[in-house]
């Protein structure tokens, strides 16, 4: 069964996101007073051919730990859907 994994990799909360801070600053300059903070991350879409959702998730999880994120500074979140 084909699955689509949508992976979001974000900087850990404890880590200052300088890019997000710069974008937030620009939004402030544009007058968006209600936007209180910005965090920037990465978004990846993976097509996964596995026989079950569990197996697909396990494969993506492994890929996240090994390559797609760096646990020293990043967290990841996986959304999996059947396609």
């Amino acid at each position: 069964m084909p699955f689509k994994a949508k992976v979001r990799v974000t900087l850990r909360k404890s880590i200052l996101d300088v890019q997000g801070k710069a974008v937030h600053h620009a939004l402030e300059n544009l007058g968006y007073e209600s936007i209180e903070s910005v965090r920037i991350g990465k978004y990846m879409e993976l097509d996964v051919a596995e026989s079950s959702a569990e197996k697909a998730r396990a494969a993506v999880e492994d890929a996240c730990k090994k390559l797609l994120s760096n646990p020293v500074m990043e967290d990841y979140h996986i959304d999996l859907e059947e396609i």
């Binding site: 880590i15 200052l16 300088v18 890019q19 710069a22 390559l67 760096n70 020293v72 500074m73």
Partner: protein, 236 residues
């Protein structure tokens, strides 16, 4: 007398490989050769250098893809055997991604790519990489990076300090590690660290760009001379 053989790994996107090779070839009793990242035989090398550059275009994260190049399995074995591995700039980033060094290198705090001479303090001169320097010597070596902002969790930092693994820090001309002398926001002004057994070191500054008077400083040359000395002591 056998010569010290430096093996310099070339990844797609490495661009300081030839500089490192030229410096190593000019050292007394040493020679260097380039090793393409798909090679898996390091038997012709006594020491390995991972040079600066932009391996794999810095895609995903700096060093994240190079860390899985075929040669890196051998470099890991080489390092785990206690043999010397030096990572410069992108090489440092690759060593962190590979887990051979602690921490990670993030985007510079001021978001800029910084290319300039900085002053560094030699925090630990009791390593094979720094034995030719005086302890706490202040040296001038250039940096050239966009992602050199060293981070590590508090436990790791304590461990690095307790084991003397912090080798170089950014400092002012008098050796003070001030916020102003920290170019990239690195934790505790850290510019270079080594592993616990002190045979693997990574640093963001480029010692190979400060190894000739013509280039504005010779302060980086002592790092390479330290390696030559350690090799001679070990083999004779």
């Amino acid at each position: 007398m056998s010569k010290l053989r430096f093996g310099i790994i070339v990844f797609p996107g490495s661009n300081c490989d030839h500089d490192a090779e030229a410096v190593c070839n000019a050292l007394p009793n040493a020679e260097a050769h380039l090793i393409w990242h798909k090679e898996t035989d390091l038997r012709q090398s006594d020491m390995i250098i991972l040079p600066g550059g932009f391996s794999y275009g810095d895609y995903l994260r700096t060093g994240a893809i190079a860390r899985f190049s075929p040669v890196m399995r051998e470099v890991t074995k080489f390092a785990n055997d206690g043999r010397p591995v030096l990572g410069i700039c992108n090489g440092f980033q690759i060593l962190c991604e590979a887990g051979l060094l602690d921490g990670a290198l993030m985007r510079n705090a001021n978001r800029k790519f910084i290319c300039k001479f900085v002053t560094l303090k030699v925090k630990n001169n009791e390593t094979i990489f720094t034995s030719e320097y005086e302890k706490n010597a202040v040296v001038r070596i250039p940096i050239a990076h966009g992602e050199g902002n060293f981070v590590a969790d508090p436990d790791t930092l304590t461990r690095l300090k307790d084991n003397g693994q912090i080798v170089f820090t950014y400092c002012d001309a008098h050796g003070n590690e001030t916020p102003d002398s920290n170019p990239n926001g690195s934790l505790e002004n850290i510019a270079g660290i080594c592993n616990k057994s002190k045979n693997v070191m990574g640093l963001m500054p480029h010692p190979e760009r400060a190894a000739e008077a013509l280039l504005g400083s010779c302060d980086g040359k002592k790092l390479f001379l330290s390696l030559v000395r350690s090799f001679m002591l070990q083999t004779h």
